[in-house]
């Protein structure tokens, strides 16, 4: 029996990595159990990090001292800024990554982390004692004692892979699935559901005719995810001569091709052999990530769908066919792939498949990811019904932080919806629950203009620093950045120009001339005017990093919107400050509708704000609940 570890993490995926690193960096002793130590940090689906909503999550994880941004930056082989034609709140970085280098970098981070031990063994069941978690028993029969356990098992609980008529237990092609644990979770009273996701085939790169596809290059001047990634080094400070040191890896292009009528005919002709349409799959799949057979059936009017050919790595020799997720039989997959321009002679190296897996309904968790009924048990990542590496990492980080805080006997950290996408993600999961795999979208964040990827440091680094997850260098760089931006924003607001001096420059932008004197900030607020456009009018401009210059422009251009959202968020915050005791008897609250009473009793929300977001709870119910709390002297901390 081992009892020397304070926290056990089950699973070494994107959630498990963040949980283990955060907890160990916060001074706890941690054991990470993985059924296959060679697959730590493996990207099970596409070799890509980021995208809309997800990039924001990565930046937030980074600002809190998490690992994902650093890993993605170090192993990226293509970076693109998405939505450059739109405002900064909805711009996002997406990277292509070398799959095996990413996994190796993740493993290296774990290996070099003090207080963190890895062990290859599969968890089989939880040990409970005194109504809380007491440890884990593994398949090998070994017992590991610990008062805090984080489950981050991804799609491995009762994972079942489907390819055409073939089904076999597996959590990911090539890896065993995990049976005991799901039953153990259900035995201790957690409600378990079933979801489905899928992945496309991969083909040999040398068998693809690139000439028949379009090139999709990365950005010429890429930006990193992490605030801690050094992009350039100063060679000569006197003349500000810099040398770019990032990205460190060679950068490559993706390719784009399209399905066609022939592809769709092949799919339609073989639907009877699809496990999805043959009724073999019971789990619910995500609507935003449909299989190609789903796309063809649901959108019959479309005669072409995009297929992105993404390199698996610098020397992998395999391409990932993004957009062609399928669980059709292998021979059908081959036929349909070969009907596509550029892929006529493609050799499949691995077929696509669908995977069904158990998940734990996340509305059984507190907003700090601890099971409401089983103290000491935390769940994070895909096991909570989310999808995506970034969503997993964000939950893993918060579970690790809160597991460590619990060991210290400190209050949990819960991020608000107006503070971070992480707050939106976890609040949605634990409050609304899931019906399909949950993916982040910027439209899920009602305070999206506040939660930009550019200002994640401003929103969260103080938390990261307070928790001890950010080192001095990162903190000092942040403080310097914050000061420089604030100073420059203030300067632009006071520095004025006169029409005579300005109108010539303004005409060349082009933007309408000035009639009277105006501040540089006034000019910058015009949609068509950029920060760099004003340089000829601005003699006193300081030297800023490109990111800092962007931030300055954003602060000024978004000013009005940001104020408005801050105002709304402020009102919400008062609701969030009103805590609801887990023991609150909703039966005793007069007048609330029966449906609301049932939902509230089941959900036991942590705050009045969370209560208001439960579907079926009306504003009238909240008003009555508030009256009840006032009458019974509700606590109002903070």
């Amino acid at each position: 029996m081992e009892s020397d570890r304070e926290i056990i993490i089950i699973g070494g995926g994107h959630a498990g990595i963040e949980a283990a690193l955060a907890a160990a960096r916060m001074g706890r002793t941690v054991l990470l159990l993985s059924s296959n130590l060679d697959r730590i940090g493996w990207m099970s689906c596409n070799p890509s990090i980021g995208g809309l909503g997800k990039s924001q999550l990565v930046r937030e994880v980074d600002a809190l001292g998490g690992q994902m941004g650093l890993l993605a930056d170090a192993t990226g082989i293509q970076f693109r800024m998405l939505n450059t034609g739109k405002g900064p709140a909805v711009q996002a970085i997406r990277s292509q990554n070398d799959r095996s280098l990413y996994a190796r970098a993740a493993r290296a981070a774990l290996d070099s982390c003090p207080r963190l031990c890895l062990r290859q063994d599969m968890a089989a069941r939880l040990i409970l004692g005194d109504g809380r978690v007491a440890g884990v028993v593994t398949e090998s029969g070994r017992e590991y004692r610990s008062a805090v356990v984080v489950i981050a098992t991804g799609t491995f609980l009762n994972g079942l892979i489907h390819i055409g008529g073939n089904s076999r237990p597996s959590g990911r092609a090539g890896d065993e699935s995990c049976f005991g644990l799901s039953k153990s979770l259900s035995d201790i009273g957690l409600k378990i559901g079933r979801l489905k996701t899928g992945t496309p085939a991969r083909v040999a790169a040398r068998s693809v005719d690139y000439a028949r596809t379009d090139e999709q290059p990365g950005d010429a001047d890429p930006r990193p995810f992490s605030y801690r990634t050094t992009v350039s080094e100063i060679i000569d400070g006197r003349v500000n001569l810099r040398r770019r040191v990032w990205p460190a890896l060679p950068q490559v292009s993706c390719r784009l091709t399209w399905t066609n009528r022939a592809t769709h005919d092949i799919i339609r002709g073989n639907l009877d052999r699809s496990p999805l349409y043959g009724g073999k799959i019971s789990g619910i799949g995500p609507r935003y990530c449909p299989s190609i057979e789903d796309k063809v059936v649901r959108f019959p009017e479309r005669c072409a769908h995009q297929v992105f050919l993404e390199p698996e790595g610098l020397d992998s020799g395999e391409l990932y066919l993004n957009g062609l997720s399928s669980s059709l039989p292998e021979d059908v997959q081959e036929d349909l792939i070969r009907s596509i321009a550029g892929l006529e002679r493609a050799e499949i190296t691995r077929p696509g498949y669908a995977v069904e897996y158990d998940f734990v309904f996340p509305d059984q968790l507190h907003p700090w990811l601890e099971a409401k009924d089983i103290p000491g048990l935390y769940l994070a990542g895909q096991v909570n019904g989310s999808s995506g590496y970034e969503e997993a990492a964000a939950q893993g980080l918060m579970a690790g932080i809160n597991a460590a805080l619990a060991c210290r006997g400190e209050a949990p950290l819960v991020l608000r919806r107006d503070e971070a996408y992480i707050g939106v993600l976890i609040d949605d999961l634990v409050t609304k629950g899931v019906r399909e795999p949950y993916r982040m979208f910027t439209s899920r964040a009602e305070y999206r203009l506040l939660l930009r990827q550019d200002n994640a440091d401003q929103r969260l680094m103080e938390h990261g620093r307070g928790l001890g997850l950010l080192d001095d260098a990162a903190w000092e760089a942040f403080e310097r950045r914050r000061r420089r931006i604030a100073r420059e924003v203030a300067r632009l607001r006071t520095e004025t120009v006169r029409p005579d001096d300005a109108n010539g420059v303004l005409a060349s932008i082009p933007t309408p001339p000035l009639a009277g004197a105006a501040s540089l900030a006034d000019l910058l607020r015009r949609p068509e005017v950029g920060y760099r456009d004003l340089l000829p009018l601005d003699q006193a401009r300081p030297e800023l990093e490109p990111e800092e210059a962007d931030r300055v422009a954003i602060e000024i251009k978004y000013d009005g919107y940001v104020l408005r959202q801050r105002d709304q968020a402020e009102r919400l915050r008062r609701f969030e400050a009103l805590r609801l005791a887990p023991s609150l008897d909703y039966g005793a609250v007069r007048g609330i509708a029966t449906e609301a009473r049932q939902k509230l009793s089941a959900a036991r929300p942590a705050t009045l704000g969370q209560a208001a977001r439960i579907s079926g709870v009306s504003p009238a119910d909240i008003a009555l609940l508030l009256t009840h709390l006032r009458a019974s002297g509700g606590r109002r901390p903070g």
């Binding site: 909503g53 909805v90 997406r94 609507r287 997720s325 979208f441 007069r590 007048g591 609330i592």
Partner: protein, 450 residues
């Protein structure tokens, strides 16, 4: 407020009527009815939705009234609770007595709107409908009741839902373009978005306009009779009121305080004010009356400025004509039964408070002025109480900002911000929140999945 006991009240509007309905609602509605009803079967033994004839008796067994009793079992009742409705004779005696007996039998007097509140809390009505019920109960005249009833049928909700749905489509387009830049989606078309947003603006604008009529229908229009002394204002007041309320004398300055009365002008409830003649006076009491009269003018929905048609206009008349120029007003040229001393201007209404001549014309002009020339058609009356009005205004602000943003080609997420504000405001009226609606629309309409 306690919401799980049994309440009782007269459910029909007060006033002269042949019949009145007393409603009992709550978990003990049948138990209470059992104690007070004398018939072939106990109410608790009756099936839901059935009627029985019988008598209501006091606790000493004294019959108070002969009634018809109707049963409604939860949740199939107005409130969603067990309910009993007792139809008794109208007038001031029977119904109050029945209520009193019910209270003695264990029910509690319902507070105003409490049945409706329970209906709302039990999911029987949406918010707009619940507010409409309160208005039916409070409605002064038939037209007001009709406008309220239309809303009860979900008229307002339906109109708003349609507008909101169109806006959700715009929002889905914008959000899809924001969240899925790499998917091959149709980009939001400026002209299309503009069309939808403009149409929504028009609809909401119309609802707001209609809401002025509706608020007049609900609260009554304030119509103030004004003029210099002795032009016959009080005679006109009495004529419109069809009773002798104001003292009419030859002496100028007889009316010193503001008199008021309710009248029905072709379906519009009108609160009519007779004011002291407006003149400079040294009489302290009269001067106080003049001050009040001027105060009333500022709050009026309509001013009836009365001048004496049998005498040439005096300076006082001219001053008043000038002072009320900016107010909604009708100039009434009174004493048309006498020889006219001048030719009235266009739009002035000739009338005789003595003979009643011109009354018809005056009413017509008043209705036109109060309803913006549209007359009272309860079918088009829309909103609203002040909460709904505020929400409609917020929606309009959001729509105007969105329209400007589309025009200026602002980035999609900023336009979405304003459209979302409008959708939220409209949802506050119908009781709907956005939740997953936008994503539902995106996934059902666009092929997502890079």
């Amino acid at each position: 407020m306690q919401l799980n006991d049994t309440i009782v009240a007269i459910a029909t509007a007060p006033g002269p009527a042949a019949l009145a309905v007393v409603r009992l609602s709550g978990p003990r509605a049948f138990a209470v009815a059992d104690k007070m009803f004398d018939g072939n079967a106990k109410p608790s033994a009756m099936a839901g939705h059935t009627l029985q004839h019988g008598r209501i008796a006091s606790q000493r067994g004294q019959a108070v009234d002969e009634v018809v009793l109707a049963t409604y079992k939860a949740p199939h009742s107005f409130t969603g609770e067990d309910s009993v409705e007792i139809t008794c004779h109208g007038g001031n005696a029977a119904a109050p007595a029945v209520v009193e007996i019910a209270i003695l039998a264990g029910a509690r007097q319902a507070r105003p709107g409490e049945f409706t509140l329970r209906a709302y809390l039990n999911g029987k009505l949406d918010l707009a409908q619940a507010e409409a019920v309160a208005d039916v109960i409070g409605a002064g005249t038939q037209a007001a009741a009709r406008a309220a009833l239309e809303r009860l049928a979900g008229g307002l909700s339906q109109k708003i839902k349609a507008v909101r749905s169109g806006l959700l489509d715009v929002l889905a387009q914008l959000e899809a373009a924001v969240d899925f830049p790499e998917d091959d989606l149709p980009q939001p078309v400026v002209a299309e978005m503009k069309r939808t947003v403009d149409a929504a603006r028009r609809h909401v604008g119309k609802l707001l306009e209609g809401s002025r009529t509706a608020s007049i229908l609900r609260d009554g229009a304030r119509v103030v009779i004004a003029g210099r002394p002795n032009t016959g204002k009080s005679s006109l007041f009495n004529l419109l009121l069809r009773e002798e309320r104001a003292i009419v004398t030859e002496l100028p300055g007889t009316t010193r305080d503001v008199l008021e009365g309710w009248i029905d002008v072709r379906g519009i409830p009108v609160r009519l004010f007779d004011t002291a003649g407006l003149r400079e006076t040294t009489d302290r009491i009269e001067s106080e009356g003049v001050g009040r009269a001027r105060g009333k003018l500022d709050q009026a929905d309509l001013v009836l400025l009365v001048i004496d048609g049998s005498k040439p206009p005096r300076d006082e008349d001219k001053t008043l004509l000038d002072q009320t120029r900016e107010l909604p007003r009708i100039v009434v040229v009174n004493k048309s039964d006498l020889k006219p001393a001048f030719a009235p201007q266009k739009g002035w209404v000739k009338a005789s408070a003595l003979t009643g001549a011109g009354l018809h014309k005056l009413e017509e002009a008043a209705v036109a002025a109060l309803t913006g020339g549209k007359g009272v058609d309860a079918g088009s009356a829309a909103a609203a109480n002040s909460r709904q009005l505020e929400a409609l205004q917020a929606a309009l602000r959001g729509l105007e900002a969105a329209a400007a943003g589309i025009q200026r080609k602002l980035s999609h997420e900023l336009v979405a911000e304003d459209v979302r504000a409008a959708v939220d405001a409209l949802g506050a009226i119908t009781g709907e929140s956005i939740g997953d609606e936008v994503l539902e629309r995106i996934f059902s309409r666009f092929c997502i999945g890079k």
